[in-house]
C-alpha cells in the first residue's frame, strides 16, 4: 500500500495542475484543430465540413503577409530592446556602485509593467495624438518639428509606433527577471574574478552571462513568443491594425476573422498558424541553448 502511494505521490501533486491545463489549454487546442476543418459562424449553429478549404484560403490571404511581417518586426525589436537592453540594465543595477540608487531605478523601470495595458494604450493615444500629441510637441520643442507626423495614421510609422509602446512597457519586466537570476549568482565567483584582475566588463561576460544563461533562454522565449501573439496594442491604438491593414498582427487578424467577419473556421486555421510558428520557435530555441536541466 505504502509503495503504491509512493509512486503515485508525484502525480497527486501534479493532478490539479494538469487537470487545469487539460481542460483549459489542451482540450481547446485539440478542439481548435477540429474546428479548422469546418466552416461555421456565430450566427448559425450549423457547421459544414470543408476539409482543407480554410487552409487553402490562407495561401491566398495577403493580409497574412502584412501581419506576419509585423509580428517579425515585433520579435526583432523586442529581443533587442527587452532581452538585450534588459540584461544590460539588470547588470548595471546589480553592480555594487549603484547599490544605493538601484532600488529606485528598479521600481521606476518596472512601473509600466504593472500598469494595465489599456491605461498605457490610452495614454499613448494622447502621446501620439495629432493635435495635442506630446511626442510631436516635444519634437517641436527640441527643434525637430519637421519629424512630427500623425504617428498612428501613416502606414510607415504606425507599426513602429505600436511596437514602441510594447517596448516602453516590457523592458522592465525582462530586466527584473534578469535581476532575480543575477542575485542567485554566488558572490564568490565575482570575488575570484576580481582577484584574477578581471575588469567589470570582463566579469559581465565571463561570470554574469554564463550564470544567467538559462534566464536568457527563458526571456528570449517569452519575448519572441509574445511577439507572435501581440493583440492588445494594435487592437486599441490603431483600432485593429489600421490604417488599412498596415499595423495588423496575426492575433488581430484571427480575432477579426472570427468575431467580426464571422469566419470561425478560418479563424481557427489562422490560430493554428500562430501556434505552429510559436511551437517551431520554441523547438529551435531549445536546440540552440540546450538549456533545460532535465537530463
Amino acid at each position: 500500500m505504502k509503495k503504491v502511494t509512493k509512486t503515485m505521490e508525484p502525480y497527486l501533486f501534479m493532478l490539479p495542475c494538469f487537470l487545469m491545463l487539460f481542460i483549459f489549454i489542451f482540450l481547446p487546442l485539440i478542439q481548435n484543430f477540429i474546428n479548422s476543418f469546418y466552416d461555421f459562424n456565430a450566427f448559425s449553429p450549423t457547421r459544414t465540413f470543408v476539409g482543407f478549404d480554410n487552409f487553402r484560403i490562407l495561401l491566398r490571404d495577403k493580409v497574412i503577409v502584412t501581419a506576419l511581417t509585423n509580428n517579425i518586426r515585433y520579435a526583432i525589436i523586442s529581443v533587442i530592446f527587452q532581452v538585450f537592453v534588459g540584461l544590460i540594465l539588470a547588470a548595471i543595477l546589480e553592480d555594487n556602485i549603484f547599490r544605493k540608487v538601484a532600488p529606485f531605478f528598479r521600481v521606476v523601470y518596472f512601473m509600466p509593467v504593472v500598469i494595465s495595458i489599456s491605461v498605457i494604450c490610452l495614454l499613448f493615444s494622447f502621446i501620439y495624438h495629432p493635435q495635442i500629441g506630446l511626442l510631436n510637441n516635444f519634437l517641436k520643442l527640441i527643434g525637430l518639428g519637421s519629424l512630427a507626423k500623425p504617428w498612428l495614421g501613416l502606414s510607415s510609422s504606425a507599426p513602429y509606433a505600436v511596437i514602441a509602446v510594447s517596448q516602453w512597457q516590457s523592458i522592465g519586466y525582462i530586466m527584473i527577471l534578469f535581476i532575480v537570476a543575477m542575485q542567485k549568482i554566488p558572490k564568490e565567483l565575482y570575488e575570484a574574478a576580481e582577484i584574477d584582475g578581471a575588469s567589470k566588463l570582463r566579469q559581465f561576460f565571463s561570470v554574469t552571462i554564463p550564470q544567467v544563461r538559462e534566464m536568457i533562454f527563458v526571456t528570449t522565449l517569452i519575448t519572441i513568443t509574445g511577439s507572435m501573439l501581440v493583440f492588445n496594442e494594435p487592437y486599441i491604438l490603431t483600432k485593429g491594425g489600421g490604417p488599412g491593414t498596415s499595423s495588423i498582427t496575426m492575433a488581430v487578424h484571427m480575432y477579426q476573422s472570427g468575431f467580426f467577419r464571422d469566419r470561425m473556421g478560418y479563424a481557427s486555421a489562422l490560430a493554428i498558424i500562430i501556434f505552429a510558428i510559436t511551437a517551431i520557435l520554441a523547438v529551435i530555441q531549445l536546440q540552440l541553448f540546450k538549456s533545460g536541466k532535465e537530463d
Binding site: M14, P103, V107, M111, F126, L134, V218, M250, A271
Partner: protein, 284 residues
C-alpha cells in the same frame, strides 16, 4: 535635491564610465516617468486646458475629475479586477507550487513527460484557445461570470509559474530535504514546511507576474465578459472612454485610479521582491 546630492557623492566613486551609465539610467527613468507624470497632471485639468496647454500644470486643480471617474464606473471595474486578480494569484500559487515540487523532486519517465507537457502548455497561447475556450465556457455555463476569466487565467499562468518555481526548487540542496526526511517529514511536509518558506522570493515573483497578467489581460476580458457590471479594468476602460467622449480629464483620472494600486503594490513588494532574494534561505 536628493538626486543631485546623490550624484555628487557618487561622482568620485563612479568614474567617467560610471557617470555615463548613471546619466543613461536617469534619461531612461525620465522616459518612463514623464508620461505617467503628465497623465496625473492632466487628470486634474479641464478638456480645454488639456487641449490648449499640453505642458502646463493645471491652472485650477480639478480633483472632482476623480470623483466623477469613480462614480461613472471605475469603482465597479476596479472591484472586479481585484476579485479576479486575487483569485487567480491564489490558484496559481497553490496549484503551481505543488506541481513544481513534484517536477523538481521526483525522477521518472512520467515526470519527464509531465515536464514536457508543461513546456508545451507554455507554448499554447490564449489566441489559439480563444474560440474553443469561448464555446467551452458556454457549455460549462460560466460564460459572463468572473469564473470565465479566473479559470482560464489560472490555467494559462500555470506553465510559466511552474517552470519558474521548479527552477528555484532545483536549487534547494538535497541535504536539507534528506535531513528532514530522516526527521520523519512526509513529502507534503517537506513541500509545505521547507520548500515553500525557502522559496519566498520566487513565490513573490510569481505573485507579481501573475498579478500583472490578471490585471492586464485584455483579450479574454473583452470576449468572455459581456456585462458592464462584471468587466475588469482593461475592458471596462474601453467602455469608459467611449462613454466619456470629450471629458478627457475624467478619462485620465480613471486611468490613474486604475494604475495606482499596482504601482503601490510594487513599491511595497519591491523590497521583498528583489533585494530580499539574497537574504532568503539560499545563499551562494
Amino acid at each position: 535635491m536628493l538626486k543631485i546630492k546623490n550624484k555628487r557623492s557618487y561622482k568620485n566613486k563612479l568614474g567617467a564610465g560610471g557617470s555615463i551609465l548613471f546619466i543613461i539610467l536617469v534619461i531612461y527613468a525620465i522616459i518612463i516617468l514623464y508620461p505617467l507624470f503628465w497623465m496625473v497632471m492632466s487628470s486634474m485639468k479641464s478638456y480645454g486646458e488639456i487641449y490648449n496647454s499640453v505642458w502646463n500644470l493645471p491652472e485650477k486643480w480639478l480633483f472632482t475629475n476623480y470623483l466623477e471617474a469613480w462614480d461613472k464606473g471605475i469603482s465597479n471595474y476596479f472591484i472586479n479586477s481585484v476579485i479576479v486578480t486575487v483569485s487567480t494569484i491564489t490558484g496559481v500559487l497553490i496549484i503551481g507550487s505543488l506541481c513544481a515540487y513534484a517536477l523538481s523532486r521526483y525522477k521518472s519517465r512520467g515526470i519527464n513527460i509531465a515536464l514536457i507537457a508543461c513546456m508545451t502548455g507554455m507554448m499554447v497561447n490564449p489566441q489559439v484557445a480563444l474560440i474553443p475556450l469561448y464555446l467551452l465556457l458556454q457549455k460549462l455555463g460560466i460564460h459572463n461570470t468572473r469564473l470565465a476569466l479566473i479559470l482560464p487565467y489560472i490555467a494559462l499562468r500555470l506553465p510559466l509559474s511552474v517552470l519558474l518555481i521548479r527552477s528555484y526548487f532545483l536549487g534547494i540542496p538535497k541535504e536539507i530535504e534528506e535531513s528532514a526526511r530522516m526527521d520523519g517529514c512526509s513529502s507534503f511536509g517537506i513541500y509545505s514546511r521547507i520548500f515553500m518558506p525557502m522559496s519566498k522570493p520566487i513565490l513573490f515573483t510569481t505573485v507579481v507576474l501573475t498579478a500583472f497578467y490578471a490585471w492586464n489581460e485584455f483579450l479574454f476580458a473583452i470576449i468572455f465578459i459581456d456585462s458592464d457590471r462584471l468587466k475588469t479594468i482593461p475592458s471596462g476602460l474601453m467602455n469608459f472612454r467611449d462613454a466619456l467622449q470629450t471629458e478627457w480629464g475624467v478619462l485620465l483620472a480613471g486611468m490613474v485610479i486604475s494604475a495606482l494600486p499596482m504601482i503601490i503594490l510594487l513599491m511595497v513588494l519591491q523590497k521583498h521582491l528583489v533585494r530580499g532574494m539574497s537574504e532568503g534561505s539560499i545563499k551562494g
